[in-house]
């Protein structure tokens, strides 16, 4: 059973938060709600997260209206109303592109081919973005691939590295320090602030990794 509440976090920020088990259905309902709210002109930003959405209001005289309205919209929200965009991401696994593939294989007891097949056979959904511009937290990694973060983070994770940690996988849009296991690399730019559509991934999008032969 889930329980929903809507509260004001600061002058402009309203939060709708779900308490309880976040099922796939709840998740789709949340994305559908974010989409509906986005179609009004009352918010300058809408930030979905795991079990909440933060709505940034243009006009704080609309606070009380939206505190009630968001609950109503949540109740009416249909999971089917949200149709995610799917991205197919060509990925080079292992070798110089995925320096941790060997270690992941050892830690999971799977051979490298199995790790790749498992990682590439799953559809992941962008739960939310954060950490770096365009960095999507992709859910959910198959159980057999779940590992804790590396004990010592790398000082320098190369741009476009495909990484896994705990129940998540992700692609680093730019180079940064990072503690995830690097299993591959893709070529498609993830974030370009100068492009019209700056981030390839948006909350709710679906990602599939397509293994490619090394050149």
């Amino acid at each position: 059973m889930t329980c929903v509440q809507c509260y004001q976090l600061s002058e402009q920020a309203l939060v709708l938060s779900i308490d309880g088990l976040i099922t796939q259905e709840v998740r789709q309902k949340l994305f559908a709600l974010a989409q509906t709210a986005n179609n009004t002109n009352d918010f300058f930003d809408i930030v979905p997260a795991n079990s909440s959405i933060t709505f940034y209001l243009n006009d704080f005289t609309r606070t009380n209206y939206w505190l009630e309205q968001l609950i109503t919209l949540w109740e009416k929200s249909e999971p089917e109303a949200f149709t995610p965009k799917t991205h197919l991401i060509d990925t080079f696994y292992g070798g110089e592109y995925g320096p941790d593939l060997n270690e992941v294989s050892e830690l999971t007891g799977l051979n490298q081919k199995q790790v790749i097949e498992l990682h590439a056979s799953t559809e992941y959904q962008v739960g939310f973005l954060g950490f770096l511009p365009g960095f999507g937290y992709l859910e959910s990694l198959p159980e057999q691939l779940r590992l804790p973060r590396k004990a010592t983070p790398r000082a320098h994770v190369p741009t476009l590295s495909v990484a896994i940690a705990e129940s998540l996988t992700a692609i680093y849009p730019s180079s940064s320090p990072g503690g995830w296991h690097l299993i591959g690399r893709c070529e498609q730019p993830l974030f370009d602030p100068y492009a019209d559509s700056s981030s390839l991934l948006a909350p709710g999008d679906v990602v599939r990794f397509i293994p490619k032969e090394h050149r």
Partner: protein, 311 residues
Amino acid sequence: MLKVIKPGVFSSIQDLGRHGHRHLGVSQSGVLDPIALKAGNALLGNIETAACIEITVGLAEFEFTQPCNFAITGGNLNAKLNSKALYPGWRYHARTGDIIKFTSHPDSLRAYLCVENGFDVPKVMNSRSTDCQAKFGGFEGNPLQKDDCIPFSKSLAPCSELAVKPSDYTNVVRVLKGPHCDILPEDYLLQLLSQTWTVSDLSNRMGVRLEHSSLLTHQESIDSQGVHPGVIQLPPTGTPIVLLNDCQTTGGYPIIASVIQADLRHFSQLAPTKTCRFELVEFDVANTALQKQEQKITRFKIAKQQLENKK
């Protein structure tokens, strides 16, 4: 152009910030004191969103390579134009070759240098602010460096000297109750409000970390949710963090309180070792405070217009 002779401790191009991209993981950036920027821009007849240079600590030096009407606002970093002392809240005229120098001041941390029509760097994602973490916006995506030449339009006629009374800074900051007080030990909000906090030297434009001899330690975490400047996170180590403009877009530490928007600017001047206190208010107080601030700028703009019409 404005030529950077010495960038000082940390100087960057900022405007009122990059809004609406938080869902893509893009920080707000922008000046830590929006009122100081609005005042500077009002003095020069600029649009509110014109970009300035935010100077941290001081020890910075710039050369005007063309005539320029400029204003300095924010904290007093003992600025001089050649040998002439400059004061925050005033606009001045610089001739070609004039040097503006910021030293430092024990009670101030950040100053704002505004020029007529603003600094002319490209807008990236609808803002000229430097995103220093992601390295885009501002001047080539970086804090200012020696020999950078920042373009702006030449002022055709020297301005008269004119001032707007700067709003005072304080270290008593008003906050709203946070949503996670009920999962934290019962008296933590009260402790946050009753203690005098010291700004840690780990503070920067991402956030101000606060220290006290008795720490508000705990073992709670929350599901990551959207965060923004003003949110006060309480990590398990017990040192509250007041998030500032360069903060990340989501966070998993409990939110104990939020600084009201009108008061967040005070953190622009709170250097490490300075202290601050918090005062709990309701939303209506926060809204009124923000409206009052805006009205003050609007009143100044009207008065300035009337003065100029008389001439």
